[in-house]
Symmetry: C2
């Protein structure tokens, strides 16, 4: 037997103990992890408005970090055709940058239209009467937020395991740990706008620009065509339009996260709109330079995708070796990707809360937790992202085909919404704005269709199935809430609570202190309770009847025999008889004693029938259940 | 992305749906799997007494099936020394057979002493005053029963995967499926004595004897020393006493299950004792022949243990090729090993019920399920055996070192108990019986010590840690039950239930139909209920107060503001105030409305705070909780 085989059962036992400890000390564990609860009044105090050049790095982590995997997944599609296809990464990246510019222009129009911040869902809700349109926008965004967390965390872990291959076998478990840490951090409520989060993104951008200028310097020195540079412009065998589009749509995963700034307009310093627009332009410039420069150097150096070593890591190694700059870039990449996942938690839980408030998602998503974050949304995101990471074993390239369709679907809907708005409202320069949004709408729709078609078989179908399911459930949820509201509404004038007869049954298991205290309570609320004893054989019933008499028959006693050793079945028979005899509005109440042990494991030693009984009766019968606790002293 | 990666998320989703379906249709699923419930009165009707030669195969599945893995695990220990050590399997098997004979003689003494059947626990309880002695006997037996299931099922699966190597990667999952089927079968309650279970064991024994006589015939034809036969009697390098003992104790795993007949004396036809003894003798003869013959042929043919092909499978292939007889032997081996695991379910759950009745294990283990089996014990066995199988990945040879210590511990205790008994009671031929049991006691103790020492580092330590832990828990459980009984006992003359004041709080979340029905109930049991509204901000509180007035103030209303958005915290403050003012014996009652949805998933759409509130209050406060259900119509 290997040492690991000996250790495995020990680990299982330790894990079980840890889980038990966490459950039985839930409140204390929660306090340590999450921190003290915060008052509702503290909600609005913490928002300090941001200058635009501080807002830029904070709000761009999601978009800018995508450069770490976007070009790589484009190149991965091409590389199957051999090195002669590598040059095509340059036109593909150029197309991506053109798309980026169109998107930024469209989003600037969005900011002009909705200065208080408007996500795709808000724009769709404002401009389309049909509920399903806005539901497409929110469902696809929610799905994509889940994917953002899964993809960003997986890419972050891949960056680290490129530098330290020894950790490669543990990628999945490390990714899950990261998601758990993000969960805790977000339940604690580190605000997205915390200024400290600006620095890693700035650091990452500086490193990326340094990399690109080093590359340029290298190319000026050694020539733009080097020994490793593959031929340019050749048409490799097996090239097809489908493949080019596939590579293009993979590369477009670098454009996710672009909506963050338009959602966050209210956090900018005045003049908000102008500052937000400035930020968008600056972000566009920096991202374009990075994408184009990075892709060009990848081509010149003839870098090939390698599942164990990211292309960013390979390029950095070529220029700087395995020294400090390499370490800096790897760790900045890691942090920025984790920050991208982090900002998604806020985005997801806020969107879910807005949609839930409109009645399309469970209302629990609108509850603010101890630290004022929308805890349920945060937990739901962490759970679904973890499932994805486990199912795809933290492989970024396996997740990419599912990614970005949702974002582009919601982009298109927002654009079409804006088009409708400009036509309706008009206002200054409305024709220019309209034109921009028409172009945006057409381009994003085409891109969304390209995504769906080219990646359908490699995973996109999952998303295209899940989004309609989500919409279907959202509509059912909405209908259910409407139904319930209708059912509960009463006329305050005519309907009032009024007293009726109550028939109280007390379940007794013998004559002892617990039964005594339960009967005391029963006698306090009714003059004539009915004690019910259920025995499995005649001897136990005889014994009970005799003891009851000895006790001076404190109230009426009914004894029932259970042939099948079930407590429920004879009780239901008794209830049916009572139901037939009672008046329509009379209540039946069952009073059940409940042992409360001092140690949790003592619960295993006592019959928990009462709990199952309670659940069954509440679910199937119109019966009031009263539980009288008895706290054991030992 | 591979097809398996696409399928994996689908499987996860399907599994989740299946689990949900099973939970929400628990009763129907249970009916299909387990069958209709049976009356307590049906319990004694189904036992038909057995003729001894039908009882023999039924009761011997556990012992006789062990020949499939006993010699193999002995040989596995020897083979590290090279082929020159192989001859030692013959003296080791001979020693095992001698031990078998001693054990059978000892157990016949046990039958003479306890004609109504007496396991080690009953014998120990009858002869030792100290509780811990009988607890060692039962804990070690229970642990060994769990191991019997794990080992037998793993060995059964290994037999199949020797014949069909293609299934080898799925051994663990197949073993778990087998345990699940055994669980269902045993919850259905196929009685151990069902006569149909006799045939596979007879078939297996016939096959084994056929194998042995074919081997003998082969040796008469081709000589007892063949080309493949390793040298006999040589002392291989690196041989040590420890290694011989280790091989011996591994081979002794073939002796587990010997206690079955002595536990089952009541199922025999009269004269019970005589028939049971006859059965023991016949079993001893057949098992000895099989063990010795099998071991001898293994030696002659120079068979080497191979983790992918059992020695039984190898030997059968040599004699019969891959034809029908090979298939027959493989599948009989499989069925008999599964039957061995099956009979353990009865043994485990009956022993657990007896010990639980004495107060040393949770009382739930004495409950008979729908089909009269001790369901909780059956489920506990299946669960723990599954954990073992997963932890050891269904490798029989990894489990063997943990195995059989428990059995030999309980054997020794039973023998010592019988020794005490003969000294005390005497009776006819008591000196012979005493001598046999003294020999048995000494031999089994020595074997138990050999087991503990030689296999300690390879896994036995786990068992030697678990048994004392079980004993410690058994004693704690006993003490807890005694404490509770003391605490609950009342004097029937002096203590009687008496009525007191009840302060009833009704939690209201607004003015609607549910609140109306809850208040109606409250007014039915008390004249002056107190409605409690908890608001998160001043507006909602003002609105509630206004609406309450509009409704004509059906009762007193208290509004509480929760700064931290928690319902519990302001409620606890209110309860504290009431507790200070009320008289000692007065009850506080909290009446909580509970939505009951028609579809299970609708529960996710409504606040489940009431459930958490109920759990917290019951656990920490002496407060009566009343739940008034409101069944939604849609």
């Amino acid at each position: 037997m290997h040492i690991t085989q000996i250790l495995e059962p020990i680990f299982i036992i330790l894990a079980i103990i840890a889980i038990w400890f966490a459950i039985s000390n839930f409140i204390s564990v929660k306090r340590v992890l999450i921190g003290r609860p915060m008052r509702t009044a503290e909600l609005n105090a913490q928002h300090n408005k941001l200058i635009w050049f501080i807002a830029l790095p904070i709000l761009s982590a999601d978009l800018y970090s995508s450069v770490a995997y976007g070009p790589e997944s484009g190149m991965t599609e091409l590389v199957g055709l051999g090195p002669s296809a590598k040059w095509m990464i340059i036109p593909i990246t150029t197309a991506t940058v053109v798309l980026l510019i169109i998107l930024i222009l469209s989003y600037i129009m969005g900011i002009l239209a909705y200065p208080n911040g408007g996500g795709a869902y808000a724009i769709a809700k404002d401009n389309f009467k049909q509920k399903w349109v806005s539901l497409i926008a929110c469902s696809s965004l929610l799905v994509d937020y889940v994917l953002t967390v899964a993809v960003s965390v997986s890419a972050a872990i891949e960056a680290v395991s490129s530098a330290y291959p020894v950790v490669a076998p543990y990628e999945t478990i490390m990714a899950i740990v990261c998601v758990f840490i993000l969960l805790v951090v977000n339940l604690r409520g580190v605000a997205e706008s915390a200024k400290i989060l600006a620095w890693p993104t700035i650091g990452f951008a500086v490193c990326m620009l340094l990399l690109i200028f080093t590359g340029l310097f290298n190319e000026v020195q050694h020539g733009f065509v080097q020994k490793a540079t593959p031929p340019f412009g050749s048409v490799p065998k097996g090239l097809s339009v489908l493949l080019i589009l596939k590579a293009f749509s993979s590369a477009c995963s670098a454009l996710t996260g672009i909506e963050t700034i338009s959602n966050a307009v209210p956090v900018f310093r005045d003049p908000k709109q102008k500052n937000a627009i400035k930020t968008y332009i600056a972000l566009g410039v920096v991202t374009s330079i990075t994408l184009l420069g990075f892709a060009f150097h990848l081509y010149v150096k003839g870098i090939t995708p390698n599942p164990n070593n990211t292309m960013l890591s390979q390029l950095t190694e070529l220029y700087f070796g395995h020294g400090i700059i390499y370490q800096l870039i790897i760790w900045f990449t890691f942090i920025v990707l984790i920050l991208a996942a982090n900002s998604t938690f806020t985005g997801f839980s806020q969107l879910a809360a807005i949609v839930a408030k409109d009645g399309f998602l469970p209302r629990g998503l609108t509850n603010r937790g101890d630290r004022l974050g929308y805890s349920n949304g945060i937990i739901a995101l962490a759970a679904t992202a973890s499932i994805l990471i486990i199912a795809f074993q933290a492989h970024t390239n396996a997740l990419i085909p599912l990614y970005a369709i949702g974002v582009f679907l919601s982009f298109s809907i927002a654009q079409f919404g804006l088009v409708k708005r400009w036509k309706r409202i008009k206002g200054p320069h409305w024709k220019t704005k309209l034109t921009i949004n028409i172009v945006g709408a057409i381009v994003t729709s085409i891109v969304a269709i390209i995504f769906g078609v080219t990646k359908f078989t490699s995973g996109a179908w999952i998303v295209l199935i899940i989004i309609p399911i989500l919409i279907f459930f959202s509509l059912s949820i909405y209908r259910h809430y409407e139904d319930v509201a209708d059912e509960l509404r009463i006329d305050l004038k005519t309907i009032h609570p009024k007293a009726n007869q109550v028939i109280s049954l007390v379940l007794v298991s013998g004559v002892h202190r617990v039964v005594n205290s339960t009967l005391s309570f029963a006698k306090s609320i009714t003059d004539d309770p009915l004690a019910v004893y259920i025995g499995f054989d005649d001897t136990s019933i005889d014994r009970m009847e005799k003891k009851w008499e000895e006790w001076g028959s404190p109230c009426r006693l009914v004894t029932l025999k259970s042939k099948y050793r079930s407590v429920l079945e004879p009780l239901i028979r008794l209830i049916r008889i009572i139901e037939e005899r009672k008046a329509e509005d009379d209540h039946i109440q069952i009073i059940i004693p409940q042992f409360i042990s001092r140690k949790w494991w003592h619960n295993l030693l006592h019959n928990q029938t009462a709990i199952l009984l309670r659940i069954w009766l509440l679910k199937h019968k119109d019966i009031v259940i009263t539980t009288v606790p008895y706290h054991l002293k030992k």
